[in-house]
Every structure is written in structure tokens, then in C-alpha cells.
């Protein structure tokens, strides 16, 4: 296990940034989001979650993939391929790493999404959470705040230094390249990292238990939930905005649109939100989900029931808590899980 003194991080980053595009959680006007690092950028490794998840780097909000131009009487297409440049994601929380895994299940399985695949190349250095927030509930989905198995390198914040453990071939290679900045971690430091892992998970699980709900109740979610009363009450206060879906690390719905100017233009893919009024609006004017009740129900049922049913039990939620924190009217997915759990346990 290696470690790196926090003081040496800027040097490490400068080195990393020479070889590839380095993304770090940067503070811009008080808002922390992943952004390309340059010297002197205000890095913030303490805030738990960035506002917009790293999903934005592999599945950007809008992504042009073909240009077209009117030539005489034919339409001329030229595909747009983002350069294959390598990039490094430094400081990704375990829940976001898990979020990428969920997106992989959607975009990398048959039919393969080449755009996503091309962007998914980067190296991921995950940073464990020592003190999950009350709104975090990743443990609900068998995830750990202190550990991200899918990351190339796992980092633990020990106060003065970050513990550094390679977990993949790419991780091992990067560790060797960056050896000059690293030093051997002492056994004691490894023990404290493990301890941090355990306490973080326990703290969160306790918070979850304190709100007495548990995932197991959700597993049997299906028909019974469809007609539950919770959709009526929850959706009644929903504003129908797109915050919860756009800050969610696992939401992956997108729309295809054209931008044209005179005889040329481009086609692009862009995020869309099932909470928007026109998400399922048909050309005929018909809308299978006419009111907010159907839309709120669809969002939660998809994450907690339909997605797991199609992907071998993998839930469409990683418990990062962003939607809980950012919803202007506090619509809280944990209440849906609690209601579902209660329903099943009571039945």
C-alpha cells in the first residue's frame, strides 16, 4: 500500500496533467464540480459529492456526433468523433464510481454505445468518505462509503496524507509511474484506513437504521407499489423540474435533437428528464404520462424495480443522496424505499 503527502499532491497533479486531461473537484464560485485542472485551481477534496456527478464526463449533457450539410440535392454526413485522448478522474467518491458501473451496464452491454465507450477510457482514482452525510445511504445498496472496488486506485484521507492502493492493471501502472511522489504506507496507517472504512460504513448504516428503513423491503417491489398512495402525496408537491435526474449519477435517459443553421447543422445527443412534461409527449399530442403522479412513480419504480429486474438485481440508485439534498421540495427516495419496505413487511 502506498501513500502520498497532501503537500505533494499539486506536484502529482502537475505531472499527471502533462500526460492526460486531469479532472478534479474544483470550487468555482462556491460550487464544487469536476473540471479540468490547471495550476492554481481551487481543489476541494473535502466536500462529499460534486453537484453534477462525473457522469457528465462519460455521458455529457450534450454531445454532437454527426455534422450534416446540404449539397446540391443530397445531404452530406460527417461523423464527429471525440479525440481518444486519455483522462484521469481524481477524487471520485465510491458512490459515483458505482454510478459509472451502473451506466456501464446500460451503455457498454449489447447494443454497445460507441460514444460512451470512447469516453469511458479514463483512469479513476477514488477517494473514500470518512464521514458520510446524513443524506447518504450507499450502504443500502451493498456499497461502502470507504471502498470503491471498481476504481483503478483507492485513496483514503488520513489527515496529513492520502493512502494509495492500486486496484487494477491501470492502477498498478500509474502507481509505478508516479512512484517518485509516493512512499510506503506503514502498517499502522493501513490499519487506520481499514478502521475508517468500518466506522464510515457503520455510521451510515446506523443513520439509515435510525430512520428504520431497509433495502430488503424494496427487493420485492413490483405490482403492489404501482398503486401505492405515496405517489399521489409525493407528486403533488413536485415542481416537475429536472434537478433530481440531472444531478443523479445513474440517470441515463437522453434525447436526440438537430441544430441547423441555413444549409448545415449537426445532430446531438442530450440529457432528458422523465420529470419533464414533454418527456413522453407523442407527436399526436397524446402523453402516456400526462400528470406528475405518473412521472414521479416512473422515476422511482424504474430505479428500484424495473432496472434491477432487467439487470440482475443491480439497482438504478447508488445512494449518493444528491437528489435528496437538491430537491427544492424535499422529495426523498429513502421515503419511497421506507414506504416500500413497510408495505412489504406489513403485508
Amino acid at each position: 500500500m502506498k501513500k502520498i503527502k497532501k503537500g505533494d499532491l499539486p506536484l502529482l497533479w502537475e505531472h499527471l496533467a502533462r500526460g492526460a486531461l486531469l479532472y478534479l473537484p474544483l470550487n468555482e464560485d462556491g460550487v464544487v464540480n469536476f473540471a479540468p485542472w490547471q495550476k492554481g485551481a481551487r481543489v476541494n477534496l473535502d466536500s462529499l459529492n460534486t453537484v453534477v456527478p462525473p457522469k457528465n464526463l462519460v455521458f455529457p449533457q450534450s454531445e454532437t456526433y454527426v455534422h450534416f450539410e446540404q449539397k446540391a440535392d443530397a445531404l452530406d454526413f460527417t461523423p464527429v468523433q471525440e479525440p481518444k485522448g486519455d483522462y484521469i478522474l481524481f477524487g471520485v467518491r465510491p458512490c459515483d464510481v458505482a454510478g459509472l458501473t451502473v451506466l456501464d451496464r446500460v451503455f457498454l452491454e449489447d447494443p454497445l454505445d460507441s460514444l460512451y465507450e470512447n469516453r469511458r477510457r479514463g483512469t479513476i482514482l477514488a477517494l473514500a468518505c470518512n464521514e458520510p452525510d446524513q443524506s447518504c445511504f450507499c450502504t443500502t445498496f451493498d456499497l461502502e462509503p470507504g471502498f470503491a472496488p471498481a476504481a483503478d486506485i483507492m485513496l483514503w484521507d488520513l489527515g496529513e496524507a492520502l493512502l494509495w492502493q492500486a486496484q487494477s492493471a491501470k492502477g498498478v501502472a500509474l502507481t509505478q509511474n508516479m512512484d517518485v511522489y509516493l512512499s510506503e504506507a506503514t502498517a499502522q496507517e493501513e490499519k487506520t484506513a481499514e478502521q475508517l472504512q468500518v466506522t464510515a460504513a457503520a455510521a451510515e448504516a446506523a443513520a439509515v437504521r435510525e430512520q428504520e428503513w431497509a433495502l430488503d423491503g424494496v427487493k420485492a417491489v413490483a405490482k403492489e407499489m404501482f398503486d401505492a398512495q405515496i405517489w399521489e402525496s409525493l407528486s403533488r408537491r413536485c415542481l416537475g423540474c429536472g434537478i433530481c435526474t440531472y444531478v443523479c449519477p445513474t440517470c441515463h435517459c437522453f434525447d436526440i435533437e438537430d441544430f441547423s443553421r441555413g444549409e448545415q447543422g449537426e445532430r446531438f445527443r442530450c440529457w432528458d428528464s422523465c420529470m419533464f412534461k414533454d418527456f413522453t409527449l407523442m407527436a399526436s399530442g397524446e402523453n402516456p404520462r400526462p400528470s406528475r403522479k405518473e412521472r414521479v412513480r416512473q422515476r422511482f419504480m424504474h430505479k428500484l424495480s424495473y432496472f434491477p429486474a432487467r439487470h440482475g438485481g443491480l439497482h438504478g440508485c447508488v445512494g449518493c443522496g444528491r437528489c435528496v439534498r437538491k430537491c427544492p421540495v424535499s422529495i426523498d427516495i429513502t421515503q419511497v424505499i421506507k414506504e416500500a419496505g413497510g408495505l412489504i413487511n406489513r403485508a
Binding site: Q70, A72, R261, G262, E263, P290
Partner: protein
């Protein structure tokens, strides 16, 4: 997909000279939706129009773009051409590649690129045009004439002659206007009253003309063919039926006031008739100066009136009336002389204006026609006339020429000589303008027969000295400064529109130019029409002119009004606003911005999720809407959309013009 035809006009060489029209046509063929591009030396000619008509049929065009001169010139022509070929006229768009391109850009390459851009924009807009149908509305067969000077009188008579009802509204107690104040008229020296009073009587007795004197326009609503006007008939405090016109009342009335008709040179009573030949010859009580109305005292007139015609209880009456056409003939005022200190007007009684001179020589004037010096009532020997006081003066007064002063000053010189053979007239002038029949001859007589001395130069100062006046000026022909001793100085003051012309213009919805004259629809081709359909202009309210021109213009305005009133119905302009009720929230932000009050609220009921719902939406009165589009801009969701200039059309234009 659209089938658009682009028709490019050479306009002889006006466009062809600086725009490469072959390239324009070639580019037009590649524009989205264009299936045909052709040209002609004169697209508005019969041959050009035939090309359009035939191509519409052969190529099954559903849109037409004509790249030619300004739509303000031939939009109507090409709409009619399209209609003749069975295409809805509102599917035609004009690209202005003459006034906005070939005539203003010399570099051929640049002009060609600009023309292509303008054609592309017109094509983009045409693609979003929708067929529109004009609907019809009835015409009220009644005319309103505002102002009863010679212009108003003539217009009213001409309209009345054709059998249409006319309401003639005059603000002062009697009709006659400025012409009633004049003594003689140039160039024939006809007595003004002699040629005016017969027409005044004709008006008074004409079965079709209703006279509203001592009345004003309170409000104007509606539109061409359907104006709704509120008149304020001010209380005369005299019962017209009973009054015999004997005049005892204004003999006995103790309250004396400066007479407006006499330009303030003599007094009139609080109860008065402006001038002897007044029509109607019924006195009126000036309530601001009548002691009964100001101090609850006197009432002599009521006591002495043999016919008991005086009625203090009379109150203003508001009369609402519908009209099909309106003729504005509000006449002129004279420039305010406060800014012309060098002439000393107001500092010495013998410095007077030409209108005051007109009153002094008038038999019914303050001196019974004897021209006497106001200071000592002595006949004047040397009289100095000064032209262009306030006219042709960029800095202080009016930059324009008031047109009639040269002629009436020559007339005054002649009248002076006739009254006092030993007198001598001096006239300071810049240029003597005699552009009319017998005008030059009239001026020569004033010089040769009546010995008027014309000095070409400007007066620097007029100031009293002893009981005479000294006039310092310059004579540019002899290049000397001149100092004249004068018994009387007469200032030919500039003509201006009525002080409240702008307010009346706003009420009627017609524009006024920088000097507050009403603006004609086209300076050369439509001089008697305003920009607002159904409202016509006659006389000096539209610019300085003399009596013959005024009468001619009054006849023209009347003819236009008659042409309008002779129609049973009129076609409305279909380019009016349209409400998309599914978008409209009923917030009615559009209502207050509509200058024509064409928008009102309406409650609609609709079925939503099986429930009967009633809600508020905006509603447009297509007849009242004039198509300005203010409501479409005020409407945030875009529910209100001005047809012909819809959001879709303008957006397509902006996108195309920016390419």
C-alpha cells in the same frame, strides 16, 4: 415541401446596374423551398405580372417572392397579381433590393451579396406565411369635419352636396376661422368677408350640415368607416331658439375682456358675438370673465334680454356620434414673438403684427377701418413692414417659409397708400416670393403704382424714439446700414400649427411632424390623406398655404371622404393579431398595451380530464385591431401572434438574415 417562386426585377437599370441579378437568381434557385427563379426588366409591368401569373399556374407555386422595389410601393400590386392567379395574396413577400440595396450600395459585389441575403430572408419569411382572408365591415355614412375655417367650410359643403350627413365642429363661437379676420385678399383685393360670408350662410342653412360651434373633440375611438367620436358642446348660456340677435345684452354687460378676434386690440364683453357677420349670430357667455359665474354678482344680460334667452343653467353636453370619415381642418396659429426681442413687439403700441394691421384696416375692426397709430390714434405717414419674422429662421423660429407673408405685405402696402396717398411704405425683405397667378403682377403694382419701397435686408433693431419708432436695418443691395423713422412697424409673423395640434393628433391617431403640422400619407402622391385610413387633411393644419390652395385641398379631402362614404362595406386588413387560446393564460398583459382597445377578456369552457373547466382568455376585435403587434411582444407565452408578422415568420427572417 414549399414550392416558392422568386421573381427578380431589373427595374430598368435601377437595380440591374449595381446588382448582378443572374447570380442572385442562381443563388435563389438553391434556397430551401424555391422551385423557380425568373426575372424581368420591369416586374410591375403588365409583362412582368403576366410572367408571375403564368408561373404560379405552371409551376403550381404556393409562395411568391418578388425581389424588387420597396414593399411600400408595389406590395399591393404583386398581391393583386398573385390573387389574379388564384394564390392567396398574403403568400407574397417582397425583398427590397432597390431602395435598401442597389440604390445605396455602389460596390457591385457587396450589393449582390446584400441582395442575396435579402432574397433569402424574404424566402424564409414567405415559407412561414399563411393564407389570410380579409373580412368586411359596414361604413357609417356620416362625415365629421374638425375646424370651420374656409377649409372646413368648403369640405363640409362639398361632402354635404353629395347628400351625406356632415357634422362641422368649431371651437370658437362662430365659424369663419382666420379668413373672417382678414380685410382684403390678394391678389384680387376681394373683400374677405364678401367672399366668405355667403359660404358661411350656405353652411348654416345646408340641410345636410349640422353645425357644432363653441364645441370641441373630446375623444376619438374606432377605425376607418366606424369612428366613434365624443363631442363636447360647450354651454353658450344662451338659448339659440329664443335669441333674436338684438345685441342689448352685450351692450349692457359691464365686464370687458381683450377680444381674441381683434387680436387683443379692442375689448369685448363677457357676453359677446365675435364679429358682426358671425354664424350663428348668437352671443356666448365667456364664463371665465362673466361676473355671474366668477363672483355670483351682476346678471344684467339676463335682466335686459327681451327674449329671455339668457340661461345660466345650461351645461356642457357630451355627444357621442359615429362617423365613416373625418376631415381635419384646424387651421393655424401665429408664432409666439417672445423670442424676437429685437423687434420690440409688446414694448410699443405702434409695433404690431400683420394680423393686427389686417384688423386695423378692416371696417368692422377696432378703428372702424381707419388705419390709425394705436399710440396716438393719428394716421401714420411712414410704415415699415418686416418680412420673415420667425419664418426661415433655423435658430429660434421655424426653418420653413410661411408662404403667404410676401403677398399679404404687398397687399398691406397697397391698402396703406389707398388710405393715405401721402404715406410711404418700406418693406424689409429677404426674397419676395410671388409663386401664384397674378402674384408677381400684384407685387409690381405695389412697387410701381403704390410706391412701396422694398429694401433687401434684415432689420437689426426697432426701438422707440420720441413719439416715433427707429428701425435699424441693412440694405444689402446698396450695402448700407439704414435707419428709418417710422410711425408704424408691421411684423409679418410666421405661421405655426395650432398649439394643441399634437394633442389632437394623438387623439385621432395621426402623426405630426417636427413642427406639429399633421403628416400627410405621401408628400407628393397623397397630400390630403393622413397615414390613418379614413382621416383626411385640409388647409394650413398640414402646412402653410394660401386660401386658393386651402380651398382646393378642402375639395380634395372632401372627394376622398365621399369616395369612402359611398361604399357600403370596406375590406379589413387581415394582418391582425390572433389568440392561441391553448397557450393564453388570461393574464391580459396585452390589454393595456393595445392603443385601439381591441382586446377584451372572454371566458371559455373546456373539458380537461373529464372535468368542465371555465377560464379566462384574451379576445381580439378584428375590426378594431390595426396590426401594430404591441400585444404579441407583451405576450410572454407567444399566445398572441400578429398575422403577417408572426413569431414564426420574424424568427425565420432573423435566422435567414444572419446567415
Amino acid at each position: 415541401m414549399r414550392r416558392i417562386g422568386v421573381f427578380v426585377c431589373w427595374c430598368g437599370t435601377n437595380i440591374g446596374a449595381t446588382v448582378d441579378l443572374e447570380t442572385v437568381m442562381e443563388k435563389a434557385r438553391q434556397m430551401p423551398g424555391v422551385v423557380f427563379a425568373g426575372d424581368n426588366k420591369y416586374m410591375c409591368s403588365e409583362i412582368g405580372q403576366t410572367l408571375i401569373r403564368d408561373t404560379i399556374v405552371q409551376e403550381r407555386l404556393d409562395r411568391v417572392v418578388v425581389a424588387s422595389c420597396s414593399p411600400r410601393m408595389h406590395e399591393l400590386t404583386f398581391r393583386k397579381t398573385a390573387a389574379a392567379a388564384g394564390l392567396n395574396p398574403y403568400l407574397v413577400e417582397i425583398a427590397n433590393i432597390r431602395e435598401h440595396c442597389s440604390w445605396v450600395h455602389k460596390d457591385k459585389a457587396e450589393a449582390t451579396q446584400k441582395a442575396i441575403s435579402l432574397v433569402r430572408t424574404a424566402v424564409a419569411k414567405a415559407a412561414r406565411n399563411k393564407p389570410l382572408q380579409a373580412d368586411q365591415f359596414a361604413v357609417t355614412h356620416r362625415a365629421l369635419v374638425i375646424g370651420a375655417g374656409i377649409a372646413g367650410i368648403q369640405a363640409a359643403l362639398d361632402i354635404g352636396e353629395t347628400g351625406f350627413e356632415v357634422d362641422l365642429v368649431e371651437r370658437t363661437p362662430s365659424i369663419g376661422g382666420r379668413m373672417a379676420q382678414l380685410d382684403k385678399t390678394f391678389p384680387t383685393l376681394d373683400c374677405s368677408a364678401c367672399i366668405l360670408t355667403p359660404k358661411m350662410v350656405d353652411v348654416a342653412v345646408h340641410p345636410k350640415i349640422n353645425l357644432y360651434t363653441y364645441s370641441e373633440i373630446e375623444a376619438v375611438e374606432g377605425y376607418v368607416g366606424n369612428f366613434e367620436v365624443t363631442l363636447r358642446q360647450k354651454a353658450r348660456s344662451i338659448d339659440k331658439e329664443k335669441c333674436t340677435g338684438c345685441g342689448i345684452c352685450y351692450e349692457k354687460c359691464p365686464s370687458k375682456v381683450d377680444g381674441e378676434f381683434e387680436e387683443g386690440m379692442s375689448k369685448r364683453k363677457a357676453i359677446y358675438v365675435p364679429f358682426p357677420q358671425a354664424v350663428p349670430n348668437v352671443p356666448v357667455i365667456d364664463r371665465e370673465n362673466c361676473r355671474w359665474f366668477t363672483k355670483e354678482k351682476c346678471g344684467v344680460c339676463k335682466k335686459v334680454c327681451p327674449a329671455d334667452a339668457v340661461d345660466f343653467e345650461q351645461s356642457d353636453q357630451l355627444i357621442k356620434q359615429k362617423y365613416g370619415a373625418i376631415v381635419v381642418a384646424t387651421g393655424f396659429d401665429l408664432v409666439d414673438l417672445d423670442e424676437f426681442g429685437e423687434f420690440g413687439y409688446g414694448k410699443h403700441p405702434d409695433i404690431i403684427t400683420s394680423m393686427e394691421f389686417e384688423r386695423l384696416v378692416n371696417a368692422s375692426g377696432p378703428t372702424g377701418g381707419k388705419l390709425l397709430r394705436p399710440s396716438n390714434q393719428e394716421p401714420p405717414r411712414n410704415v415699415v413692414f418686416i418680412h420673415c419674422v420667425g419664418s426661415r429662421d433655423k435658430s429660434r423660429g421655424k426653418p420653413y417659409c410661411s408662404k403667404i407673408c410676401c403677398m399679404y405685405t404687398a397687399k398691406h402696402a397697397i391698402l396703406l397708400k389707398e388710405k393715405y396717398p401721402k404715406s410711404q411704405a418700406y418693406v424689409f425683405y429677404i426674397d419676395v416670393r410671388t409663386a401664384g397667378k397674378e402674384f408677381e403682377e400684384f407685387h409690381r403694382r405695389a412697387v410701381e403704382e403704390y410706391g412701396a419701397a422694398y429694401l433687401r435686408g434684415i432689420v437689426g433693431k426697432v426701438f422707440p424714439s420720441g413719439d416715433k419708432l427707429l428701425v435699424n436695418g441693412v440694405d444689402t443691395l446698396s450695402n448700407q446700414t439704414v435707419e428709418l423713422e417710422a410711425d408704424l412697424v408691421v411684423l409679418a409673423t410666421a405661421i405655426t400649427p395650432r398649439r394643441d395640434a399634437a394633442a389632437l393628433g394623438r387623439m385621432l391617431g395621426i402623426g405630426t411632424d417636427g413642427h406639429n403640422y399633421f403628416v400627410e400619407a405621401h408628400p407628393k402622391l397623397r397630400p390630403v390623406e393622413s397615414h390613418t385610413a379614413g382621416i383626411f387633411l385640409a388647409g394650413t393644419c398640414q402646412g402653410p398655404r394660401d386660401i386658393p390652395e386651402t380651398v382646393a385641398q378642402a375639395g380634395g379631402a372632401a372627394a376622398k371622404a365621399i369616395a369612402l362614404l359611398s361604399k357600403e362595406t370596406l375590406l379589413s386588413d387581415p394582418c391582425v393579431s390572433n389568440v392561441n387560446e391553448s397557450l393564453c393564460t388570461g393574464c391580459l398583459a396585452c390589454l393595456p398595451v393595445c392603443p385601439y382597445k381591441a382586446i377584451s377578456e372572454k371566458t371559455i369552457t373546456e373539458k380537461v380530464h373529464g372535468q368542465e373547466r371555465r377560464r379566462l382568455v384574451a379576445e381580439i376585435n378584428n375590426a378594431l385591431c390595426q396590426g401594430c403587434g404591441a400585444c404579441s411582444t407583451a405576450c410572454r407565452p407567444g399566445a398572441m401572434n400578429l398575422l403577417g408578422f408572426t413569431n414564426e415568420q420574424l424568427l425565420a427572417e432573423v435566422d435567414a438574415i444572419c446567415l
